[in-house]
Symmetry: C2
Subunit: 242 residues, 2 copies
């Protein structure tokens, strides 16, 4: 059967992907993805055909993958992190309805929440919520409702897409909502360029985070009431008696 | 400096870990973990010293790792999935305060939410909450509050530890709480033995899930109002116009 792998390559370059992901890419003739991610893996898969599309052409990129696979070339669609968390695997399965001759296999990867948490220490060790602040495809009212619900129930919160040029004040807005339930002193942190050159982490209080500078390569972590800093690491205890 | 790696090996056996995780384990003299997980990796790391402790001896296992590293042997503490999600990395960093001579490095892995989602299709493509139903270390009232908050804000929900012998009716209790906000027809699913022999998936409605048989090797996925089934896959659309 004709085949497409939808592969999460993890947060950074080659070593951050699973052995299964590397084997899947090795088995393909064509690797397709957003330009930045293709450049992260290109040197490790010599001899493959690489196809790229720019940002915001997600639907076109998916169709390109199915057309390639349908023409008989085993194909991989790659995503940063995990393809199933704000990635392409949903859209691929939706568009895949039009290509019943192509089998889709999703290969999981380390998403930014998991990768960033390991850089910081152990912020997600207990119940957590993952929320994207991008209102490109989601109404802000829904994002607001989720931020309030998560803060009110004392979830650790991981924020994706905390900022962009147009949405420069969204992290501030999110912090203001969380401050309705959590104290200014709450332990928070950011990680940028997880697993890549220029990786940076910073611990904040929730009050400080409100004014922090973040960009689209930053993942934000907001602790729960138990979260603490231990020697520069952000740690949410699970409750074991030491 | 003396060193401990806290390594998430992913949901299954060898291929599900990252290349970075495999290299970290390769660089160690001693690999420590819960018996079941050590047995999953043992054959791939010949010549290492393997130490195991049974379940519920988490604190002892962490101390054993620090004592080993402190004695000069580079050591890995392995966890199933990711060590930062209901895993050992928090406890390791807490106990690490007593061993300032040992550096702790957390190596991320594919947690059951991410691995299970890739088996099902793409249920977590949008905002989601991860909740453990185990009340061993968390009061049930807090779990209940989080279930209600997550369902009320239309998060996709991933449940860890949905059942045990003592907690045989906890999934039913959780479904009843979620049913206060979501319809009986909501698309849900379970995955057992993710990435291992005997892997099984099953799609349910929320009404059916209430009576499903699950065990401690099952991860449960509860959709949001947009989640649908596409050819046996559980998919939460992100909102792209196809």
């Amino acid at each position: 059967m004709k085949k497409i792998y939808v592969v999460g390559i993890g947060p950074g370059a080659y070593e951050q992907m699973t052995i299964r992901a590397a084997k899947a890419l090795e088995s393909c003739e064509v690797i397709i993805g957003y330009t930045v991610y293709v450049d992260l893996v290109r040197e490790h898969f010599a001899g493959k055909e690489f196809l790229t599309t720019p940002m915001k052409q997600e639907v076109e990129r998916c169709r390109m993958a199915f057309e390639t696979a349908s023409a008989g070339k085993t194909t991989a669609m790659i995503c940063s992190g995990d393809a199933g968390v704000y990635g392409m695997s949903g859209l691929m399965l939706e568009i895949g309805e039009e290509y019943p001759e192509v089998e889709v296999e999703c290969v999981p990867g380390v998403t930014a929440a998991i990768g960033g948490a390991s850089v910081l220490g152990a912020p997600l060790i207990h119940d957590f919520a993952v929320i994207s602040l991008s209102d490109l495809l989601t109404p802000w009212e829904k994002i607001e409702k989720r931020l309030l619900a998560a803060a009110g129930a004392d979830f650790v919160i991981c924020l994706y897409n905390p900022s962009s040029k147009k949405r420069y004040d969204y992290l501030q807005k999110a912090c203001d909502l969380i401050l309705k339930y959590q104290p200014e002193s709450l332990v928070c942190a950011t990680v940028s360029n997880i697993g890549r050159e220029g990786e940076q982490k910073q611990i904040y209080t929730l009050g400080e985070l409100r004014n922090a500078k973040v960009d689209m390569f930053t993942t934000v972590f907001i602790g729960n009431s138990q979260t603490k800093e231990i020697n520069g690491a952000m740690v949410t205890p699970r409750g074991y008696r030491i």
